[in-house]
Symmetry: C2
Subunit: 242 residues, 2 copies
């Protein structure tokens, strides 16, 4: 389920960190590792820190450029701790794992981690579709690279598990309702509640805000939305028949 | 918000790992570290791997027994990779962070991590209220201790953020609906849908199952439940007035 994910490390300085990354990946069932111009590799330090995940190191590919590393990927995500002046589309590891990582089965996705001290350069970020920012203490925001990989791979593993559960359940792959469909639902809901006499003009704003909070939170799929709109129609019909 | 959390390391062998733990903690704004009989501490290796989180190391407490380390804590959680024959109450870091960590403001919580090679002993687990199991590859389930602390502290940081957002929003601290209140809601919902003529006998089971899935997923609080039941009552009144 996670074979479409590739972890790319750019110019990693400490080979121990490469080993730590391999271990973090294998713990979370992710096995494609690509190293762009690592300072020292292979290395006994890497193998030692990998601690049984040396199979990941053995089949890691080594590239001389980032372009080469991501050539077969159609989604490229750059991990970044820095708040950059340029505003890049940014998301958290959870948003990435839940909304992007499994959205299309044909995607091949690279997640890129920069140098230990200086991260990714702007010309490398130019190759990314999104920046990934791990939520953390804003006064001490630089995670060890293996720790950062651990968090991202962990979120992917948890989301893969949830995906599998969803595929098994009959909620299946029904599409989530779009924002436009939800707005149309809220208009319908307001009208139906007015029709059945539930809406008092002085309370309607608060009520609608609370209802929006409920139904936005639940992330309805379009089948579920159909059922709810069916109920609204029926309550309106009753009213009109009166 | 996270000052009630204490990370406890039991008989850690490699001082570098203690440094890695300190860094992982500080990244996620958690600062109480307690070391039970560390093999080597303080140590240049620990300080080097802490990489700027040496303030966490400087104020870490060192105890000779686990009992001493957790004496001021009323909830004790043991991190464990092993599936044990004894069935202990077990949860994931996310369940811990979302359901336990912030459930009462007066709680003091210890999260205990065992030895690098052998984890926690059974007599140490006897002191724990829950086991914490990080979801991972079942064929390679032993995370580096700093990586495990990173995942747990990350989940706590994300949940603290969410808690803060909830406290600011007017959803406030309204209690979640209980299972009994939800059952009573579903009975009411079924009756109201029957009253307005939405329920066909051959479809009612499927419809109710789908509606349950929606409303269970959203985790209604009791104010939200009141609004929904008000709507149901009003649609029934209309029907009865007909």
């Amino acid at each position: 389920m996670l074979s479409h994910i590739k972890i790319v490390l750019v110019e990693t300085t400490h080979p121990g960190n490469i080993g730590g990354v391999a271990r973090a990946m294998k713990n979370m069932n992710i096995s494609n590792l690509c190293l762009v111009s690592p300072k020292i590799f292979p290395s006994a330090d890497a193998t030692s820190r990998a601690s049984g995940a040396d199979d990941i190191l053995a089949k890691a590919t080594v590239c001389s450029t980032l372009q080469e590393a991501i050539a077969d990927c159609n989604i490229v995500i750059g991990a970044s701790a820095r708040c950059r002046s340029i505003s890049w589309p940014e998301m958290s590891p959870r948003e990435f794992a839940e909304n992007i990582a499994f959205s299309e089965s044909s995607n091949k996705i690279a997640v890129i981690f920069g140098r230990e001290n200086s991260g990714l350069k702007n010309n490398e970020l130019d190759l990314c579709h999104f920046l990934l920012r791990i939520p953390c203490n804003s006064d001490y925001s630089s995670l060890n690279i293996a720790a950062a990989v651990q968090v991202v791979c962990y979120e992917l593993f948890v989301a893969a598990d949830q995906q599998e559960a969803i595929h098994i359940g009959d909620r299946g792959k029904t599409a989530k309702a779009t924002a436009i469909q939800m707005e149309s639902f809220y208009t319908h809901l307001y009208q139906a509640l007015t029709d059945i006499g539930f809406m008092h003009p002085d309370k309607s704003k608060t009520i609608m805000r609370r209802l929006r909070r409920i139904y936005n939170r639940v992330e309805l799929d379009i089948k579920e939305l159909d059922i709810l709109r069916g109920i609204l129609r029926m309550s309106q019909n009753n009213q009109r028949n009166e």
